[in-house]
Symmetry: C2
Subunit: 429 residues, 2 copies
Amino acid sequence: MNIYINPLKTEWEKLLQRPLFSTEEIENKVFPILNEVKTNGDKALIHFAEQFDGVKISHLKVSEQEFIEAENLVSTELKKALEIAKQNIYSFHKNQLLKEEIIETTLGVKCWRKSIGIQKVGLYIPGGTAPLFSTVLMLAIPAKIAGCNEISLCTPPNKEGKIHPAILYAAKIAGITNIYKVGGAQAIGALSFGTETINKVFKIFGPGNQYVTAAKNIVNRFGTAIDMPAGPSEVLVIADESSNPVFVAADLLSQAEHGKDSQVVLLTTNESVAKNVKIEVEKQVKLLPRVDFANTSLSNSKIIVLENIEEIIQVSDLYAPEHLIIATENAREIADKITNSGSVFIGHYTPESAGDYASGTNHTLPTNGFSSAYSGVSVDSFVKKVTFQEISKEGLLNLGPTIEILAENEQLEAHKNAVSVRLRELNNK
Amino acid sequence: MNIYINPLKTEWEKLLQRPLFSTEEIENKVFPILNEVKTNGDKALIHFAEQFDGVKISHLKVSEQEFIEAENLVSTELKKALEIAKQNIYSFHKNQLLKEEIIETTLGVKCWRKSIGIQKVGLYIPGGTAPLFSTVLMLAIPAKIAGCNEISLCTPPNKEGKIHPAILYAAKIAGITNIYKVGGAQAIGALSFGTETINKVFKIFGPGNQYVTAAKNIVNRFGTAIDMPAGPSEVLVIADESSNPVFVAADLLSQAEHGKDSQVVLLTTNESVAKNVKIEVEKQVKLLPRVDFANTSLSNSKIIVLENIEEIIQVSDLYAPEHLIIATENAREIADKITNSGSVFIGHYTPESAGDYASGTNHTLPTNGFSSAYSGVSVDSFVKKVTFQEISKEGLLNLGPTIEILAENEQLEAHKNAVSVRLRELNNK
């Protein structure tokens, strides 16, 4: 990690620039996969499982028997931990489903919004070495709270044609039973177009590699909603004299281990804090199993020393981090001034991994600076808020003439007429 | 309008299909415009104003003097109507800015969400014959409620280099003063990249022609958020024996006059209702100034007679209309069963134009079937909901071991370690 001391304000934007990725090449590889799924359905999925996952699949859908087997394979300790995580995620998300009151904007004109679960949603859970069962909970729990009728989950099978038992168990306790052994871009295609076995959905959620991301972006252009645009995971930590360098280094590394493209930034006003954290990072990284990932992402990462806390808040908002850890004395006060972040971790005993797993907040968050305009996943992401209005005769007598004037001035005569025909009838009575 | 009587269930999807538009050709025209704006900034905007709007502009930003002139040109009647619309839109939207409570998910683990206005947003208002001042209110009012710091509005100038006074007046009463005389794809480019005069924004809102839509889709792919994907406007009306054919016909026509690609659908269980509405539509359309638009869109529109109200609800949800008018006896009851719609108008005295202008609900709504997954514009569209968490020492002692188990099972050792270093310190005290 390089240390930058008091960089010029005019240099901030450049210093905070994230590496650019060209998506065109990957999209060109993904298009034919999507087309194949659209044309050949299940057959294409089985073909791609053989090609990409190295396994011959006969049944795409996970069977009841497989759920039972999985349950037997998950340790009691992990089951208990998953149960606690589930409870906390549920507690935090359940209040997000709002019942809003009816507003009578004019006498006789009643308006309201209703949150309605998106009927059909698809969840994607990546495969690979580490089974991301935490993401199963983070997506399935709000989907259930939102009242989505049909929740389909796709995740790639391993070489034995199986799904990791912890993923199946997490899905089960979250109430998800439609699980399909399909990974990669082909899974996104299946969820977007539908196949014989997998129903078409209206919105797709979940992380994935660059092929999955490209596929999500493509199907989004053709009408399937997606949770949010994706990019590499990242954390920004604000530290001061009160910070424990051991904690701060561990937090930076917990992000750096995600992948080679992960982003890690430390902001502080104190040069010796910067140096101590750097030393501690270099010490701790050696002990990690994923030291290669961590070292690569650390080489792109930055420690920036700034003049004062105001500058720190400005730089943090400019970067708009996915995760923001405020490991300072008056952390709550600083948190209140933050504008752009996906999720904020306040104080010395709030590591990012708490939110990644079990504090209750969602870990599917906007990366790549998107937290300036996007929110993380919540129950909101799984509902549409439909507006309703009901106008009584009296209401239309009150509001009608206003609508007529506005429509006339926008030169939309038929809009005006829809009111006029009614007012004429009401006034003739 | 063709009448379809009891079509087979297997035919519904085909019958409801919207016309497909190829966007590629338009995107190819829009790309060079966006590049030109990115490279040459204001100079490009002035050049395109001459090329597309036929006017030489010296100052892109609307001056204080122009606001004053506009105010003098708007009639007292229109001012009063705009004021009423503003009040109703404000009343309905102000409750959407929520203050959510802090949830203590585990003893010592506090989590909450905060709605924070997107700092910089851009609003696009189309030009053309009809000045869409209503859209100014529909976008500016929730943006102000959300607390967006910087709101920029772009709209094309007329041949005299002026903006329609009603647009300027509506902007003024909504509290918007940064208005720029820029239209089309170039306006979207300016808002997305920034120029010398116009600041870059994080999210762009508002309707537009196919060039504007294509430009929004392109900049969205490169990182600027947009309100929602766009398509032609549409209404679906549910009518029964209690409906007044004159009202229903007027409602259908108020949608049909929007443009040649507008979509209009009528569902009923009663064949004579279908016929009476058709006769009435043919009678009323002749009297409209926009008869050409209306006739073209009517030629693509459908009256469908179905077996019963359950089928009607199924077909309506399958179509997922932008606007849904329920002009029936027990309209509220039917409304409660609807899943997919942008905005619902209940009963015989609730025409769509009420919501278009002044009932208080927003008129920027998901078209093209997107109401199955997207909501209309609301205060939500102008905020990010950032999550916060604060864990006390006690909280981490309670929750830490759970996080360690979960991280370990996902093979993310550094995630576990961020908790372990803290627990070690706490347990050693």
